[in-house]
Symmetry: C2
């Protein structure tokens, strides 16, 4: 089954000796470990097992304990940008006795950790505007990060330590809808119906292939029988391996007083025309998208706000950075504030300014560091939210979760909070497509809302009549950000990423942009702790 | 693909005329509707579309509005059993001006809607015992119904109307574990790893079959290409259709500071040996198990408790029923109370006594009604819960949800409430297997706990060291119930169910047992409203 070319050649002999013949091209992890054990002993077994993910414990980001600050010099820390990464760094450094100063270009703390509520300003270049939601605690949306996966250990560690109250976030809602203009005359289909039918059809095909003995060489008779039964259960096929619909799609009628009547299967050819299978169908299986996910109660900005009461730091807001200069003994930073250029010096500097904006900041960094900065690309994501007079989706059995459409709005998010309340704020769009976001960016704010409204109408015909007001956040047009989820091309990442992770002099670039998990809070915390580990070691070596 | 034998013959001609040739044996719902439209017009289209589940709106249980009670006689209603069904009936009848009296055999209201907290009594025959949990609001478990699916409309309607606060219930946790003694040396595997690998292997096999042109007769070239790509995405296969592991399984290492390293796939033969694919793998796709589910905040008994402040009913507790007699003008009931037999008469009676217990109640019902009662089987389910000194599962990235094992405990439930608290109450077992439950029933309470503890240790090796106290609820040994999820054999259900749904004289059997959704709150409400609808009509006809 699976090919492990890199192991095949050198293990062929050992496998034959070990009597592994049952599945011609396959080697189980357990069998592999036995062979490795014979060849290299238990230390080798441990390394290989770890690489194969077989050891207890899971791939964890490591949390650093910063040692007590040295006596005398070396204690003044400058933090450029008051987002999650630097708030976390300040929190850890202050615990160890360091003195921290933030220089933040905008008037607010939190960076892209942005929850929008009544009266907030969307600070878009050239067209700042107020959020018109009613002033109620459940009427908000997270314009920035929104989801907390179970394995984001640093994030969970801080939520636990700082008392951030969490609640579940519905990512996978089988009652939500998928709609594609090319399929089923553009009619929306319940996701659980789409999924159940797609699995049924797939399984039926596979059952047919098994019955034709296509795989007889690969499986023992016993495995082959198990496989057929496995496939039958997988797709809910009948005894002979045919798919005739399943209760998993939800009943067409009955199920309580009358017997449940199955829906007939949708046309498979029509299902294939719906692009849902390209990403939506597997989305809730993603590495950081798997159930269960959580969110902070009352808005995700409660994560960063939980750090604030613990910080003694000075915050200089409305202070865009002009230049950064590594000096023999530290870092000098010039920023503009209240119409004047001001200089501040520190022993070390942690900088979370978005890399695409860093190209406008004078510096004396090394060549490759500068190149890495210049190669970074600004990410382009858009969220468009509406306050509705009714939570109409709940009447359609949709509580939280995401509907999908092939239109530019891409995803429709129903809030995981405020169930049964009169009104709600739903995302008419979360689009991470560069093209779609650029298109929304070119529109006036009014036009964006109008377009989103029309698009959502294909999924929920009555949507416009519930809309009270709306707001769009086009991240590549937001002041002080001009993008989000900064990244490099694969080639550039390979070339520059290690350089960007390391300090240039006493200056560290940090933030989710300096992680493999850009756009996630855990990326920011991971970068922070990676920088802290390096910092901690150098300070105490010196 | 799918066979619709019942349509095939008469539609063959029409299909050929309509030019449907692309998929030899298949008829899409849309195509079907077109043909029906030609033959029978729009009314026929509507009926067929409804039967196929294509109309807007979903299969709903209907809520009855009870008309104002008639003047004079006919207002006195007797309710036997104070569970959800009768509480709901009393609520609706009292709104319409009826007078209700409950006769309940136990000392408590709620029936199987039972949430156990510190100091509660588990009223098992011969061995009542106290729940020893600490007295904290998050230390409880729902011994009875626990889940609220999105499409249980009557239940949602009452929660909304009566202000029952809901929160999400994690049913599908991909970070939870599956363990089977027959597979992988009995080592537990993360569910998302199992699922991702199983899908990968299935998809690889199907890709191979497609490449061998097994299905060329069934698919157009275009569909065939789409299908290959569909399968590739489904299993996260490489370009050529081979499965080499996927990030969906969770990374073995990295993903934040280092690139994510995929886990190598598990051995498919070993996966097939784990019985997880027989039910656990599809469990969260079930008709009433699909995400998202909810639970009542603070314990599921808040659902039934929400009715109480609205009721003016008399509750006679500790009053087991002795006999029920239909009379020309009503129903006479004799019950024992405080050592005496007492008689009460009413115009109508709604009876939710478990059918297996009804065989011990004298009555003058018709022959078939009595037969139906006698044929009902008592369901046997067991829940075993432990209070733990730590929420150790959270350290393993498990927040809520269910782990599976092939051992008698079957399912391990981690609480969806109390995240980050010190202690928790987890279900070491939810077993609905008759055999397993009978075995637990034969053990002493101490032995049940001991057995469950040992079994859970195979999934969580350190489990015993966290255990503080525990409690078992074996439903077929619980006083006043002696079973749960009453049912008939398929044959008997066919023969007797309609009879049991209808009244015998002025006596109605109600409860989840009189629904196709036994064991669910929605079953109880559905039965209640079905009986109310019948009652309402007859009263106003008469």
């Amino acid at each position: 089954m699976q090919r492990r070319q890199y192991l095949k050649t050198w293990l062929r002999e050992e496998r034959l000796q070990a009597g592994i013949k049952d599945m011609s091209d396959q080697l189980s992890r357990r069998q592999l470990l036995e062979l490795v054990g014979k060849a290299g002993g238990s230390a080798a077994v441990y390394q290989v097992a770890l690489a194969l993910g077989m050891m207890p414990g899971r791939a964890a980001a490591e949390r650093v304990s910063v040692a007590k600050a040295p006596a005398g010099a070396g204690k003044n820390i400058l933090l450029l940008g008051a987002g999650l990464a630097n708030l976390c760094i300040a929190y850890e450094l202050e615990k160890a006795g360091y003195q921290c100063t933030f220089v933040e270009s905008s008037e607010r703390i939190g960076g892209r950790s942005l929850t929008l509520r009544a009266g907030d300003t969307v600070d878009e270049i050239g067209q700042p505007r107020k959020v018109m939601f009613d002033n109620e605690s459940h009427l908000y949306f997270n314009a920035g990060p929104a989801r907390i996966p179970a394995h984001h250990h640093l994030l969970h560690g801080y939520c636990r330590e700082l008392g951030v109250e969490l609640e579940w976030f519905v990512n996978d809602n089988r009652y939500a809808l998928t709609q594609d203009d090319a399929s089923l005359d553009g009619k929306p289909v319940m996701i659980r119906e789409y999924m159940a039918d797609a699995r049924g059809f797939m399984s039926e095909l596979l059952a047919k292939a098994i019955n034709k003995n296509i795989f007889s060489e690969e499986f023992s008779k016993e495995d082959s029988e198990r496989l057929f039964e496995f496939v039958r259960r997988y797709g809910d096929l009948d005894e002979k391996g045919f798919y005739k619909g399943t209760a998993r799609a939800g009943y067409a009628s009955g199920g309580m007083i009358e017997p449940g009547v199955k829906k007939g299967p949708l046309d498979f050819s029509e299902l294939l025309k719906n692009n849902f299978w390209k990403s939506g169908m597997h989305f809730p299986d993603g590495e950081s998208q798997s159930a269960p996910l959580m969110q902070a109660v009352g808005g995700n900005d409660h994560v960063f706000k939980a750090f604030l009461p613990h910080l003694k730091s000075t915050f200089i807001l409305n202070a865009p950075v002009i230049s950064i200069t590594n000096t023999p003994a530290g870092v000098d930073v010039v920023y503009s504030h209240e119409g004047k250029h001001k200089k501040i010096s520190a022993d070390y500097c942690f900088n979370s300014i978005p890399l695409p904006l860093m190209t406008g900041v004078d510096n004396n960094f090394s060549g490759k560091y500068r190149e890495g900065i210049a190669k970074a690309r600004r990410g382009k994501l858009t969220k468009i939210a509406f306050q509705t007079s009714e939570r109409f989706w709940e009447k359609e059995d949709i509580y939280g979760g995401i509907s999908w459409t092939n239109q530019p709005v891409q995803q429709i998010w129903y809030p995981s909070h405020g169930v049964y309340k009169q009104k709600g704020v739903m995302l008419a769009s979360y689009t991470w497509s560069r093209t779609n976001s650029e298109a929304f960016g070119r529109m006036s704010p009014e036009q964006r809302l109008e377009d989103a409204k029309q698009q959502v109408s294909k999924v929920h015909a009555d949507f416009p009549k519930y809309v009270e007001n709306g707001v769009s956040v086009v991240w590549h047009r937001m002041n002080h950000h001009l993008g989000c989820t900064t990244s490099w091309s694969a080639e550039d990442k390979e070339k520059y990423f290690k350089t960007m992770q390391m300090p240039d002099g006493r200056h560290y670039m940090v933030g989710d942009q300096i992680s493999y998990h850009s756009g996630w809070q855990e990326g920011a915390f991971s970068s922070a702790h990676f920088a802290l580990a390096h910092f901690n070691e150098r300070v105490h070596k010196a």
